[in-house]
């Protein structure tokens, strides 16, 4: 059974290395689709009803030439943040799991189906979590994350502290501040919340 457990430090290192090699401007939001197409030569291929019929938002092909995305999500502004994250996540598989993917050989389509049905949830969970961690780090770099948190924190604490006699706990603070921070990165508030927790932002900056 395939297995790979990468440390957080390794994923951080890989994301920073990728940034050096493929992202030539500090501008935000990261233009992830352009990076995929222009610097990596990967095609973005929209597929009709991918989510509706296969319950998937996107995937990268085994030979890493194409990232397929659900056409409806791809073209609808309301979901484009998710598509951006999906593209970054798929690039994460390319960067982190390339050798594992290269080592899989399928005789035919039935063989692929058997392989896919046989992957256990825990193993798959590791690969998926690592790719998402990579995507978060790529789209939400640490320095601007700290900068944004610092600039919005005072406003949120001032506005929301009086609502309760108890002070805001970290989770409340993250859920209130994340929607104010996501525009600069063009990701969802959930991604920002995860990044704030992962980076242990309160330990870095205090409250």
């Amino acid at each position: 059974m395939i297995s790979v457990k990468l440390t957080q430090d390794k994923i951080r290192e890989e994301a920073e290395q990728f940034r050096k090699e493929h992202i030539f401007t500090p501008d935000l939001p990261v233009d992830i689709e352009h990076i995929a197409e222009a610097t990596m030569g990967i095609r973005i291929i929209p597929i009709e009803s991918l989510q509706k019929h296969c319950d998937m938002e996107g995937f990268i092909s085994k030979n890493f030439t194409s990232i397929y995305v659900d056409e409806f999500l791809y073209t609808d502004d309301r979901y484009y943040k998710r598509v951006r994250f999906t593209i970054a996540h798929e690039i994460g598989h390319f960067v982190l799991h390339r050798s594992t993917i290269d080592n899989q050989y399928f005789r035919d389509e039935e063989d692929w189906i058997t392989f896919r049905m046989g992957i256990n949830d825990e193993t798959l969970g590791w690969f998926e979590t690592q790719a998402s961690e990579f995507a978060g780090r790529l789209l939400v770099p640490i320095d601007p994350l700290i900068e944004e948190f610092r600039s919005k924190r005072g406003f949120v604490l001032k506005k929301h502290s009086p609502w309760d006699s108890k002070p805001l706990n970290d989770d409340d603070l993250f859920s209130l501040i994340a929607p104010l921070m996501c525009k600069r990165f063009d990701v969802s508030a959930e991604v920002i919340e995860r990044r704030l927790r992962k980076e242990n932002i309160i330990a870095i900056l205090g409250r």
Partner: protein, 124 residues
């Protein structure tokens, strides 16, 4: 290798800093159909008006060399008879999860194969 309409417009779109999504929004093309045109699976549009709209979106000046080349390539283009479709096994994903967070069912996997095959269907 001779440049095709497909590779020419893809190269110009990327050079213009436009994603497939932005390009399709500006021109009104359906994204999956335009993607097929860029992969040489669909014949390019033949209407001069549509082609001129494409050149405008791609920031190609009228009567420039690129403009003439785009028009010539569109006029000459047809989907080649000997186009080799990619190996479907190479296009299948190894790792992915369903939105509901579970392994996909066998039916979903079979549907996925059909959809990938359809995305590379070659229309003459």
């Amino acid at each position: 290798m001779k440049t095709s309409f497909a590779s020419f417009v893809r190269e110009k779109r990327i050079a213009a800093g436009l994603t497939l999504r932005e390009f399709c929004r500006l021109t009104g093309f359906d994204a999956s159909n335009w993607s097929k045109i860029e992969r040489g699976l669909h014949a390019p549009p033949q209407s001069k008006k549509v082609l001129e709209e494409i050149t405008q979106v791609l920031k190609i000046e009228t009567e420039s060399q690129d403009y003439k080349e785009l028009m010539d390539l569109a006029a000459l283009a047809s989907v080649p008879e000997d186009l080799v479709e990619p190996e479907i096994l190479d296009q299948l994903p190894v790792f992915f999860r369903t939105v509901r967070g579970e392994n996909p069912t066998e039916d979903e996997l079979k549907t996925l194969i059909t959809k990938i095959r359809s995305a590379w269907h070659h229309e003459r």
